[in-house]
């Protein structure tokens, strides 16, 4: 296969079951290097399951997940992180009993380059100055928006090639959501980091992403560039609340 044909991430006919209930009924999608792609859809559509199957938290029932040309769908979660995939979990998943600094540092758990780690901690602080102000505070005392910033900062510390974000807007005030998405867009556009983003807030997702897939009950039903989807009547009605 020629280099320019290698996708950053390619999912082929991926199936996941919870017990006997199918959560993903064979989905396929592709993400190009440097691209920001969104996965939008209602609650229970299978968006989070897709991310969990990529990062090895849940096991597939069939299909494959190809990252950088390798099938990773049978690898354990910690190995997937070391290959270069970092996930910002739904509900942030920060370690609230540790300080902000310790949380950020833990993101570099698999790295050994002390100097690079301290430089990258500074980069996270530059990206989110609020975190530097609160670095000695316990992470549990942060506001929801700050916790989301912390979760993103922590994920960046792993130096991922692919960043997965699960519902970064969840439970946040609209103004905070805007800040978060502006930063996500900045991470993608300025450092060229490949991003796969799961989001119920289709408006913000389409703002940050180049392309999107629309999911319904375990299947991908529509796909297109953000511009196309914003113009699509069906999408406008069902997901953007416009008429």
């Amino acid at each position: 296969m020629m280099k320019n044909n290698v996708y950053a991430l390619e999912i082929k006919d991926l199936q996941v079951k919870y017990g006997v209930i199918p959560a993903l009924k064979g989905i396929s999608l592709k993400v190009e290097p440097g691209e920001a792609v969104a996965l939008i859809g209602a609650n229970g559509a299978g968006k989070t399951t897709t991310l969990h199957a990529i990062s090895g938290i849940v096991r597939k029932a069939g299909g494959s997940v190809i990252f950088d040309g390798k099938d990773i769908s049978n690898s354990p979660a910690h190995e997937i992180v070391s290959m270069g995939i970092s996930q910002v979990p739904e509900g942030r998943g920060i370690f609230s009993n540790l300080t902000v600094y310790e949380n950020i540092k833990l993101g570099a758990y698999l790295r050994k380059d002390e100097k690079g780690i301290s430089e990258d901690i500074q980069k996270v602080y530059d990206l989110f100055p609020r975190l530097e102000e609160r670095k000695t505070q316990l992470a549990g005392t942060l506001s929801g928006g700050e916790q989301q910033m912390l979760a993103i900062g922590r994920s960046l510390m792993a130096k991922p090639k692919l960043l997965l974000l699960d519902e970064p807007s969840m439970g946040l005030a609209p103004i905070v959501v805007e800040t978060i998405f502006r930063t996500i867009k900045k991470i993608n556009r300025e450092s060229g980091m490949t991003i796969l983003l799961v989001e119920q807030n289709a408006q913000m997702a389409l703002y940050a992403a180049h392309r999107a897939y629309v999911m319904e009950t375990g299947e991908i039903v529509t796909t297109g560039t953000s511009k196309e989807l914003k113009a699509n009547d069906e999408i406008r009605k069902s997901y953007l609340g416009l008429h």
Binding site: I57, A77, H78, Q87, S155
Partner: protein
């Protein structure tokens, strides 16, 4: 009298605390109670008996050796009895734990018989008198070793990389996986450490009371479990505090009220604390996430 009983209480409390740590650490990470822990403690004690008496080893060799062997028993139990059913219902885990517990008790009875064995530690008992206080060298060994081990554990958990990984895993298993922690290895490590500490506790019981028996895991295990709950299960300092509280309360109760109700005092204090502080002395209030 009072100080004397306090020292006696601290001695047994240190033993309870060492066992309680195993319950608490495992619960902290997997949210399950390892009901086979008491029997792992018993196996460790008998391994110590085997190394010292059957093989004639010196104590300072037999101690670390049996602790290491017991660590492997703990790791093995987790691998075969808990790991395959990790995503199953908590009830399945309980049944599996009881199965391991029955298996280990019967295994010990087949190997070592059902009778009580003298431990014959070979340590010459000598006593010191400070005013009206009588302290034996064995008590000093028990108190010293349990304190050193607890400080060691505190250091590992708070100051080392694997300790940070343990705390992260205990706080949020999935988040720990997502930052690249091999959580299966951390879980094995936790079972290993907890089992090794329980083994040392068993050996201390052996040299302190000079009597070990195959169902000792039940009484000590239950009391140490009470200590873990009392301190706030999942909390490492909680298990230590709980162990000492149970040890001191039952010693005082036995000395001042009635020795026949020794166990009733231990569980009585547990009930009282749980009525007023259901999460235990140092436990955090659990907020169920939706």
């Amino acid at each position: 009298m009072f100080t004397q009983q306090l020292i006696n209480g601290i001695t047994v409390g240190g033993i309870y605390a060492l066992i309680a740590l195993g319950y608490s650490m495992v619960y902290g990470i997997l949210r399950i109670v390892n009901f086979a822990h008491g029997d792992i403690f018993m196996m460790g004690t008998f391994l110590g008996l085997f190394f010292t008496q059957s093989l004639g080893m010196q104590f300072y060799i037999a101690f670390p050796l049996s602790a290491a062997a017991t660590a492997f028993i703990g790791i093995f139990v987790e691998k075969i009895a808990y790991r395959p059913i990790r995503i199953a219902d908590k009830l399945a885990v309980l049944i599996s734990a009881l199965g391991v517990s029955i298996f280990l008790q019967n295994l010990a009875q087949i190997i070592w018989g059902t009778e009580t064995h003298a431990f014959k530690s070979g340590i010459e008992v000598s006593t010191f008198k400070f005013g009206g206080l009588i302290l034996s060298n064995i008590q000093l060994i028990v108190i010293f070793l349990s304190c050193v081990l607890m400080m060691g554990l505190y250091f590992v958990v708070n100051k080392t990389k694997i300790g940070v990984a343990m705390r992260a895993t205990s706080h949020n298993l999935n988040s720990a996986k997502l930052i690249g922690i091999n959580t299966d290895r951390i879980i094995s490590f936790t079972f290993g450490i907890g089992s090794a500490l329980a083994c040392i506790a068993g050996l201390l019981v052996g040299i302190y009371y000079d009597a070990v028996f195959p169902i000792m895991g039940y009484s000590y295990g239950l009391k140490a479990f009470a200590a873990a709950i009392l301190g706030g299960i999942g909390s490492i300092p909680g298990a230590m505090v709980g162990g000492f509280v149970i040890g001191i309360v039952e010693t005082f109760g036995a000395a001042y009220i009635s020795a026949g109700y020794r166990d009733a005092f231990a569980f009585g204090i547990l009930i009282i604390v749980l009525i007023f502080r259901p999460s235990g002395i140092l436990g955090k209030k659990l907020v169920e996430k939706v």
